[in-house]
Symmetry: C2
Subunit: 663 residues, 2 copies
């Protein structure tokens, strides 16, 4: 039967797909056939133009310069400058009323200074001097206000990046024994983090952070929050000799082995402030209008605890305090950048990990608020802004900063409308740095620990975990692996494992693509998956298969074996009437094919022919059609009579033919 | 407009998708609408049964035990034993005529001994004593004959695995300085290679070797062939002080720096034999019936060169010879396996790399011949067989062996029909080992070098490279990277780079999935890509998009930005008449969706609603529909009136509705 039908096929050159009539008595029957539509290849393109299109779609999917087209040169220049400095977008139109709404929540003097204690706390989390945390809350927000394109992002030090930087650097250098070297390494890592971030933006490789899926991040954040909280047990219990390791097991062992060092005064204070902070948090979550309650709570705690210590001279009763901090603004630190080959590997690695993690957080936060207010954030531009901010930061005694979710949420709730909020925030930190530092002398470390715990507890997002569990069990597994990896192995390796599993999952989907048998939905020419649609029915004599993945090296062996097994099962099950004649492969859902894939199709064609079957391809998409055509040019497989535009047309045309040739 | 249409939608519970009539004057128009078909979710399944199905499809796609179903217990036992020892499949029915056809080409005494020189040559390539190559041509074929399921695979040492093992082990130990240790490491690596291979088979992880795409292999093989040939320059030019490095640059530098050591006698001999061997190869390729010409050429060269050396006492004129080899069969070597922690990392790594590479070669060769003769080879069973063969080999003084293409091709051309050919081959090697070893004393190394070059030159497959270039430029890039990496960096790293690029390419396809705008093909309800089909036309008021990839964490950001940009362009371009009302997302080609993907759909729904548009989903496949339904249960997005089975039905139904609501 194979190859006999050539003359009845639609013509090769006609566009409208007219039917070429064979001859003799079958004429009438053929005329009754529906008009067949030809499968077209996309218009021919040169390799260079195809490459250009591909590169554009990969690196410039947002087509950032589309607004520039057809504008006069001067306008183009103005637009380019505006593109590089988004501040020019909003400053000219910045009005007093906007300023008032930006300042609105800063009217409350307590909220104004709320970033001071968190800055200090996060610096301690990274094993850095507390003042670095304040420095990092001053310069980077100013830089971001000029370069950043998000109106809601509030930048500053964040817990996860602080944690990772501290843990990675501590592996090589002790912050207690060599404080200066540790500081140098921190600045250098920040420099590399900024470099990585800016490069990703400039090279338009922003999609790399997309590989951190939501499930990965949820698990990772929850694990990191627990690790961070565990670290605070040192301050909360007043333990002096604490482990330098981060995992759940060593920290708990350390806590239990040092019960003698526990100080009841410290624990009492810890419990009180923790309860206070968590209550404030709960109140703000329940009534969003009361956002300032949780926003002010940290500062209130610092003030109260400092007063308590000062009044009762509690530092002499086993409560450790921050101690003297120098007044004054950021000092330049470019002379502290250390490019010594001995530490280069470490700083580059630390910069890479903290850079990508903090970028992910910053871009995700920016996108979340942009979508809430329905404006667009240019991911690659954000990366350049955050990167430059960190490079400048590394030269002005700052460590890694990024857009923080909690800060941005407070700004958003308070009704901030432009990046000016970052400037105002920086100014309050400046006032603190210049005049208020002596006030922190008696601030107890325990209250900083409590502030950190209250801050990171929000990273454990149980509803999201539940949602992931309900939606997708594999995603839940990824989430769980990230969580367990962070808690039991290490922060970096937990992350690596989760990313690895996410990618492996995607590869597995390609390696074992979904294939379905389709049937006809009664009374229509719609063909759908038999398993999904109960009213779809098998068409006798046909095996209609769909493949739902690119056909490439990773799955051709599988597809080959699977299809052959199906044919075998069909052939052995078929009765005389329903004997299998045609194998239809619906390629609608195959977006791409590579050389292995083409070889697979050719092999399949040959082997079906050996079994007396005919292989029909339906609706190959652009790229696939192009390659099938090239294979046809070279070897003459897949003539036009084995290509159809829809399954319906293929079945109609082939059944008619079957009937005609039947005895 | 959004949400107003609820009452006109098809009913939620009916299976046949009857139309619920709204009321008033529009009745007639609605009645004219075609019957709508409901999108169904696949039948509900528990997580456990879904997991089971997934695991089965991932690890047991070939359903190896399907023949066992419904058989009595004793039959099952017999089948299980036959499954483990495929020899039992063919030995009972092995007849004298089959034996004759297997023996047929061995009737030629020269062909019979053709494996001897290649075995010796490959052992030298791995820096092992020549006799190991013969041992490796004796035991492994016997083991494979019992366990292997391919009838055509001829096993023995192969060039690539020899090259890699030699180069990896030489990095740690010098074969000249510590020959015993080197030998121990080789056996131990072989043991681990076997272990890796058998484990991949038992754990049914065979798909891992699928990640070596054809393009990767073509580039890698060509690079390796050149590296191997370059190594032979030592023997071919008679250089004594040769570099131990493998790259193109150091080898050529070494050749040029040691011009004084070049020996004209050696070079003359090299040129003569090389011409002879390559001519023989050419003859056999042109006339496949003369396959025995190239099959016998190596042995003929060995005999002639040995005689020449013996007669002219050429070893005294600067021609290096193999020297004394001990007679006798393989000695046990399990006491030589070295699990010293100092070398454990090296041997495991070497075993892993050589194991996977040789497995890839063996399985690919087996599959090629199986598809030529139209029988099935079970990949996982093959892996177990090859793995066990190498484990046994490592205990009997053999190094890594696998199915070799050239050997199998000769067997195939000679008309061998069963794995018995492996047994006969092993017997000829046994005869050599027992009685013929003294004959090799005067065999010059130069002839072995020429034999290796003639053998590996076939690995450079220029037609395949040309085909890849024509078919797929990205595949060509992968091929080129593998080639350049092997030649300029190192064999292992070249391979790693090529595999990395292949996987990155697959990931990129997911990260930047193809999206197309579809139009209606005039006079039909077929919707196809506007770019590919010139006679497809836009439907005014509709933006019909297809996504051709799973929607997951890696591409939701891209899809989001890209779709929003399209909507923006459409909205700004549309005139009053063709104003955009509906965005149709055809999900036919979306095989899977994860939690990020569902969030993306919900976000898109919300943001289109903000722009006064309606998002319609068409034909979600089983898994996608299930998750959309779950999202619907939880949040109430995607009611049934925004889901259609085909684009045609959606457009028909929605245009009718548009007309009705128009003023």
């Amino acid at each position: 039967m194979v190859g006999m039908r050539g003359a009845y096929g639609y013509n090769d050159n006609g566009n409208e797909g007219g039917v070429v009539v064979g001859g003799g008595e079958a004429e009438a029957e053929i005329a009754a056939m529906a008009v067949l539509h030809k499968v077209a290849a996309p218009p021919a393109q040169s390799t260079a133009s195809k490459l250009k299109a591909r590169v554009k779609e990969t690196f410039f999917p947002d087509d950032p310069f589309r607004g520039f087209k057809g504008k006069p040169l001067t306008t183009k220049w103005v637009m380019a400058v505006q593109y590089l400095f988004p501040i020019l977008d909003w400053v000219p139109s910045y009005s007093f009323s906007l300023f008032k709404s930006d300042l609105d929540h800063f009217g409350n003097i307590l909220v104004m200074y709320r970033y001071t204690p968190t800055g200090i706390s996060y610096a301690k989390l990274a094993s850095l001097p507390p003042i670095i945390g304040l420095y990092s809350s001053f310069v980077p927000p100013m830089v971001y206000a000029v370069l950043g394109s998000s109106r809601d992002l509030a930048v500053g030090p964040v817990s996860i990046a602080s944690l990772i930087m501290g843990s990675m650097l501590r592996q090589a250098v002790s912050p207690a024994a060599e404080p200066l070297l540790f500081l140098q390494l921190a600045f250098t890592s920040t420099f590399f983090a900024g470099l990585v971030q800016a490069s990703l933006g400039i090279l338009r490789l922003g999609f790399i952070i997309d590989f951190l899926s939501k499930a990965t991040l949820v698990g990772f954040m929850a694990g990191a929050a627990i690790i961070v909280s565990l670290q605070q047990l040192k301050a909360l219990l007043g333990i002096v000799h604490f482990t330098t390791e981060m995992g759940l097991v060593p920290v708990m062992a350390s806590v239990i082995h040092h019960t003698k060092e526990w100080s009841w005064q410290t624990i009492l204070m810890a419990v009180c402030f923790l309860v206070l902070l968590l209550t404030a948090r709960h109140v703000s979550m329940k009534w969003p209008k009361l956002f300032w309650v949780s926003a002010c709570a940290p500062l209130a705690c610092v003030i109260v605890s400092t007063l308590l210590v000062f009044l009762f001279k509690a530092q002499k009763h086993g409560i450790s305090i921050i101690g003297q901090l120098k007044c004054g603004l950021n000092r330049p630190s470019w002379d502290k950048l250390l490019f010594d080959p001995q530490y280069l590997g470490l700083t580059v690695k630390t910069g890479l990990v903290t850079g990508i993690i903090s970028l992910t957080e910053g871009v995700a936060v920016g996108r979340t608020f942009a979508s809430l207010k329905d404006y667009q954030v240019d991911g690659n531009k954000e990366m350049m802004a955050i990167g430059l901010m960190n490079i400048v930061g590394s030269c002005t005694s700052c460590y890694v900063t990024t857009g923080a979710f909690s800060r941005s949420a407070v700004n958003h709730n308070a009704g901030c409308k432009t990046a000016m909020s970052n400037v105002i925030m920086a100014l309050t930190v400046m006032v603190t740095l210049l005049f208020l530092m002596p006030l922190f002398v008696y601030t107890p470390n325990v209250v900083l620990g409590a502030i950190i715990i209250a801050a990171v507890i929000g990273l454990i997002d149980l509803p999201a975990v539940y949602n992931i569990w309900k939606m997708d069990k594999m995603d839940f597994l990824v989430c769980l692996c990230a969580f367990a990896g962070v808690i039991f192995i290490s922060v970096q390796q937990g992350l690596a494992i989760a990313v690895g599993i996410s990618i492996f999952r995607v590869l597995l989907q390609i390696t074992r693509p979904k294939m379905m048998i389709q049937g006809n939905i009664k009374g229509t020419d719609i063909y759908r998956n038999l398993h999904q649609y109960k009213d779809a029915q098998r068409v006798p004599g046909f095996l209609i298969l769909t493949v739902e993945a690119p056909i490439n090296f990773a799955n051709t062996n599988y597809l080959n074996e699977r299809i052959k097994r199906w044919i075998e099962e069909e052939s052995s099950a078929g009765t005389k009437q329903s004997e299998l004649h045609f194998v239809i492969l619906d390629l609608s859902a195959v977006p791409a094919i590579d050389t292995s894939g083409i070889s697979f199709l050719i092999d399949l064609k040959k082997s079906t022919e050996k079994h007396g079957l005919e292989l029909i391809l339906v609706n190959p998409t652009g790229e696939v059609m192009e390659k099938i055509q090239r294979a046809n040019d070279a070897h003459g497989h897949f003539k036009s009579d084995s290509l159809y535009l829809t399954t319906g047309e293929a079945v109609a045309s082939l059944s008619t033919f079957s009937k005609m040739t039947a005895p």
